[in-house]
């Protein structure tokens, strides 16, 4: 794993092949405006090509609504959850834009949530068994209630001819100083 001397703010951060999937970093620059962050496109412009592998993880036919599946990505040790939410979601793919995937180790203090933590009624993952944080799977894994200082790392998906591919990761896995790329 390489160790660059520049900081993440200088653009070493990643990347998706699909710029439209990528969303904000700077949030609301002007306090008090009600408009949502308009920075997503500006952020996307800073992105470079992914250094993550492409991996076929499932087909559309494998998925039933609200039934999570697990898969490993970007290597064989990192477990993630793939789920069809039944409602459109940030980064969602498929005909309903509702298929998303997330790493489920809590980015607060590393509690394992896993597929059993999926709450189908709300499309929320959690609560984390350690400190009860919950995450909104329709909004890029954002904290609903709790303590994690980042969203759940989201696995970037693509769909081609009925197959679902993992192509990247948005966010740093708990316990890592840099995500594994293979």
């Amino acid at each position: 794993m390489s160790h660059r001397s520049d900081s993440p703010c200088n653009g070493s951060g990643f990347v998706s092949r699909r710029q439209f999937l990528i969303f904000g970093g700077t949030g609301l620059a002007v306090v008090g405006t009600l408009a949502a962050s308009q920075t997503a496109l500006a952020q996307a412009a800073q992105l470079v090509m992914s250094r993550y592998p492409e991996k076929r993880i499932a087909t559309l036919k494998d998925l039933a609504a609200k039934k999570p599946l697990t898969f490993h990505y970007p290597n064989d040790t990192v477990e993630n959850v793939l789920v069809m939410l039944g409602e459109p979601a940030g980064g969602g793919i498929g005909p309903g834009r509702d298929i998303v995937a997330f790493n489920t180790v809590c980015p607060h203090m590393g509690g394992y949530i896993g597929p059993d933590g999926y709450k189908a009624d709300h499309n929320v993952l959690g609560p984390c068994p350690l400190h009860l944080t919950t995450f909104d799977l329709t909004k890029h894994g954002m904290v609903v209630s709790g303590h994690a200082t980042e969203s759940l790392p989201q696995i970037v998906l693509e769909e081609r001819a009925g197959a679902i591919y993992a192509v990247g990761v948005m966010g740093l896995f708990y316990g890592y100083s840099a995500n594994p790329v293979a």
Binding site: P8, G13, L34, A36, T149, S177
Partner: protein, 887 residues
């Protein structure tokens, strides 16, 4: 930086500098470590390559880890440095093992970096010319302030010169403020950030003889039952809940939550053997009375404790209860409505009609079975005769609704259950802000024109005094003012009239012109407003203030303060303050010198800390023993405290065998230290209750009390108008007004705008869905005017004030984003709190509790109307609209 797409973070190298601090936000004050090293290199993932000595990936939970939000680039001594700010993973106090909240966990994002949203920090002093703020020098700003102040004091007196400031933002700053207000200016026109007047928060607790911060975190860990009134510590004191209440010595404790809003902590408590009592706002006193009655009827009281620790009539009257000087209204504890003892209390509780279960259930809106179950849990002895260890916590939902009676009745309930001074059996506030108030001298409250019925002076209501046009020079420091106070829109409008709408507005920056124009303002009946802050605060300093001073805050100077278990730590300077920003103690000192006052020659914050020490020595937050020992050892007091790191030491600090020893719990008889050593001050409240007899006082709180019931009847939601209760409170992910959070990229996405939580039964008829924009409007907001003198008992009650022309009727509204969820009781909506652009307090009434002088902050009402859809209804990138208690 800090994009969610970040997938790596720099690790501190082995030789990174290590500093210690504590969190800037909630009352718990978790310990944090700061790693700082020059830009250009970083540590590696192998244990011998990073300062943690840990291999990355760590491969396990609860390890050292740096999230991307915990890194930033800061200027240190004029050069760019990496800073990593993480909880102290090794600490054994407060946030054991590195626990942290989302607020503290993102402290690094608070550090000034012009490449982040912190770029709008106030960088230089400014004076408003022709409506626009213009950059000026500190000299010019301070000269103008001093010249106008001298004029105001000479011509209009100290009653026309006022300040309103934070009460908590470090001992060094609050001491300087207190010295200026109380000694040098000598004005009664002062109030802390959260109140209109300078008086106690939870007066009923004080009157019982219980210090609001008597407990330590161990107590919340070891109790068997926690009765939590008007609070979910998960939302507002995160780590106290996650480390001590969910865990602690007794992780199987049962929690009883009394709050109309089921948040995550409530859901956890309910799932783990506890109860949720979704009470109608303002009716807690009735619940406490009903619980006390069930206990008395069944003989479940802790008789042994009562016999030993509750004062009887003779003990009360011989010592005037809590003392006449401390109990303003009617000498509250000695006669009249509230005084009682165990014998009398039993009679009262059996006669009080609202304490009868069916009546109580009707008034509180609670299932009588829930009330009975709660009484059993807190008081019923077990089969073997042993008693549950029950502790009682209260916070704003309790004491900011029916201030005096809720606190007094909770204290009485706790006392008959045997709580108040023993491990795991405490009565205590949970805490809001940290405790950083230091006083230079007694206040000038005796100059207040207000008076309680009876003999005591009443602290001046500064908001009202301003609105009535009596203040000519006002200096506000580190607060939002309007959204934090009630009838917020009325207050903001009035301050705007006195400042911006006054015809006397400077047209250039010539010193003489500025002074002349602002003195003309003063003479025309207007007000000159100065504001010190770290950020623009709308509209206080963006639209109203004439002079704006840039402050240096947390991490930009060495500061000190305590948390809610009185734990004192040094908060180290981490980075250079931006631009010309200066700590508030420095601005006060420079102003004091220009006023010709003595004693403002401090060279650094340590000198202020050392000077303040002597004045706090008899108090709960006394660190005088530390300062004295440091002096003997030839050290600076700040350096002596720095050596205590994140663990700090609990005040009051005493000397035992020449060593400094902290104090875990107040009122605890095991604190009887015998012969006292050195500068230790041995106060009675250390090992007994804070009354003349050292025994606690039981207080009666009749629901029909004239100071309460007519107000409550007048402010209830009017069903004919379609109103519901509109209360307000914090959410875990936002600290206070969001001043930092809205500049932290991740938190700004989570809560870009405050929500209002509405039950489906209330939302559906209005066609309101989650994500809709809702106006909340109250067309009858009561605002007290004038400073009536109390002579007879009823004089300051709502009906009398109204009859005598002291109640003005105004209106108020705000806009919030709807979250429709059954987590809230029907008929009650929960709004955000203290957000400058969505002032939930606009629909609450600026009429104080006549017994204590505090507002009833949580008792708003309004009609909810959909006005459109917010962008968050369809935007995937911001503001989750999911319910909070998903478990």
């Amino acid at each position: 930086m800090n994009s969610l797409s970040i997938d790596r973070v720099p690790l501190p190298p082995k030789d990174a500098e290590v500093l210690t601090t504590a969190c800037a936000y909630c009352t718990v004050a978790c310990g944090y470590k700061v790693y700082r090293w020059p830009v250009g290199r970083e540590g590696g993932p192998a244990a011998d390559q990073n300062v943690f000595g840990v291999d990355f990936p760590t491969g396990a939970p609860l390890t050292a880890w740096v999230s991307p939000s915990q890194h930033n680039i800061a200027q240190h001594q004029g050069r760019p440095h990496h800073v990593v700010i993480v909880p102290d993973f090794a600490t054994e106090v407060v946030n054991k093992g590195g626990a942290h909240s989302i607020r503290g966990g993102t402290l690094a994002q608070k550090v000034y970096n012009p490449n982040t949203p912190t770029r709008d920090r106030l960088l230089y002093p400014m004076i408003r010319v022709a409506g626009q703020l213009q950059a000026v020098s500190w000299d010019l700003a301070l000269d103008v302030m001093a010249a106008v102040s001298k004029h105001v004091l000479a011509k209009h007196g100290e009653h026309a010169w006022g300040m309103k400031t934070y009460s908590y933002e470090f001992f060094e700053n609050t001491y300087a403020i207190s010295k200026l207000v109380n000694l040098s200016i000598g004005t009664p026109v002062y109030a802390p950030h959260d109140k209109p007047q300078n008086a106690e928060d939870a007066a009923g607790l004080d009157d019982a003889g219980v210090n609001s911060f008597a407990a330590c975190y161990e107590d919340w860990g070891m109790c068997d039952v926690a009765f939590l009134s008007g609070v979910d510590p998960y939302e507002t004191k995160t780590v106290l809940f996650t480390e001590w209440m969910m865990r602690g010595d007794n992780p199987n404790k049962a929690m009883i939550f009394v709050t109309p809003h089921k948040t995550m902590g409530v859901a956890y408590g309910e799932k783990n053997g506890g109860l949720w009592l979704p009470i109608i706002p303002g009716t807690d006193t009735v619940l406490h009375l009903a619980l006390a009655r069930i206990i008395v009827e069944n003989g479940w009281q802790d008789q042994e404790f009562i016999d030993k620790w509750v004062a009887n009539q003779w003990e009360i009257e011989a010592g005037y209860g809590r003392g006449t000087r401390n109990t303003r209204w009617q000498w509250r504890t000695t006669w009249g409505t509230f005084q009682s003892d165990w014998k009398d209390f039993q009679k009262f509780i059996m006669k009080e009609e609202v304490a009868q279960l069916d009546n109580a259930a009707r008034i509180t809106g609670l299932d009588p079975e829930l009330i009975k179950r709660a009484a059993e849990m807190i008081a019923k002895p077990r089969a073997d005769g042993s008693r549950p260890k029950t502790s009682f916590m209260l916070e704003k939902g309790n004491y900011w609704s029916n201030n005096y009676m809720n606190t007094a009745s909770l204290a009485s309930l706790g006392l008959i259950c045997g709580a108040g001074n023993r491990p795991g059996r405490v009565i205590s506030r949970g805490g809001g802000h940290q405790r950083g108030g230091a006083s230079a001298a007694g206040g000038k409250g005796w100059l207040s024109p207000e008076k309680y019925p009876g003999r005591r002076k009443k602290a001046l209501n500064v908001d009202r005094w301003v609105m009535d046009g009596n203040v000519r020079f006002m200096w506000t420091v580190g607060l939002t003012w309007y959204p934090a106070m009630l009838a917020s829109q009325e207050l903001a409008s009035r301050v705007g009239e006195l400042t911006r709408s006054n015809p006397h507005q400077p047209r250039n920056l010539n010193r003489d012109h500025l002074i002349e124009t602002l003195i003309n303002r003063v003479e025309s009946g207007g007000m000159v407003l100065v504001n010190s802050d770290i950020y623009p605060v709308d509209p206080l300093n963006t639209q109203h203030a004439d002079i704006v001073l840039p402050a240096a805050g947390w991490g930009e100077d060495d500061f000190t303060r305590c948390n809610s278990e009185r734990r004192l730590r040094l908060y180290a300077k981490i980075a250079d303050a931006p631009g010309q920003a200066k700590p508030d103690w420095w601005a006060i000192a420079e102003f004091g010198k220009r006023m010709g006052f003595d004693g403002y020659d401090w060279k650094d914050s340590n000198q202020v800390f050392e000077e303040a020490s002597r004045f706090q020595r008899g108090g709960v937050l006394s660190y005088h023993a530390l300062t004295t020992k440091a002096k003997k050892d030839g050290k600076r007091a700040h350096e002596a405290l720095r050596a205590y790191g994140t663990e700090g030491i609990q005040t009051p600090i005493r000397v035992v065998d020449g060593q400094l020893v902290g104090t875990k719990r107040l009122h605890d008889p095991t604190n009887d230290w015998g012969e006292v050593e050195d500068v230790t001050v041995n106060q009675k409240w250390l090992h007994a209750f804070d009354t003349h007899s050292g025994k606690a006082l039981l207080l009666k709180t009749p629901w029909s009390f004239v100071g309460w019931i007519d107000f409550y009847e007048a402010i209830k939601p009017r069903s004919e108008k379609g109103e519901i209760w509109v209360t307000n409170g914090r959410v875990n992910e936002t600290w206070q007004s969001g001043f930092d959070d809205l500049r932290k990229p991740y938190l700004a996405k989570r809560w870009p705008w405050p929500a209002i939580v509405i039950h489906p039964d209330d939302a559906k008829p209005q066609g309101i869905e989650s994500g809709d924009l809702v106006q909340i409007h109250n067309d009858e907001v009561f605002v007290q005017t004038g400073e009536p003198i109390g002579v007879l008992e009823k004089d300051l009650t709502f009906s009398e004030l109204r009859k005598n022309g002291h109640i003005k009727v105004t209106q108020g509204q705000f806009v919030a984003v709807a979250i429709v969820s059954d987590e809230i009781r029907p008929g009650v909506a929960q709004a955000g709190f203290n957000f400058p652009q969505s002032m939930g307090n606009s629909v609450c009434h600026a009429v104080v509790d006549p017994v204590s002088g505090n507002y009833r902050y949580k008792l708003g009402r309004g009609v909810l109307t959909k006005i459109g859809e917010s962008p968050y209804k369809t935007d995937f990138t911001a503001m989750s609209l999911k319910p909070r208690p998903i478990i």
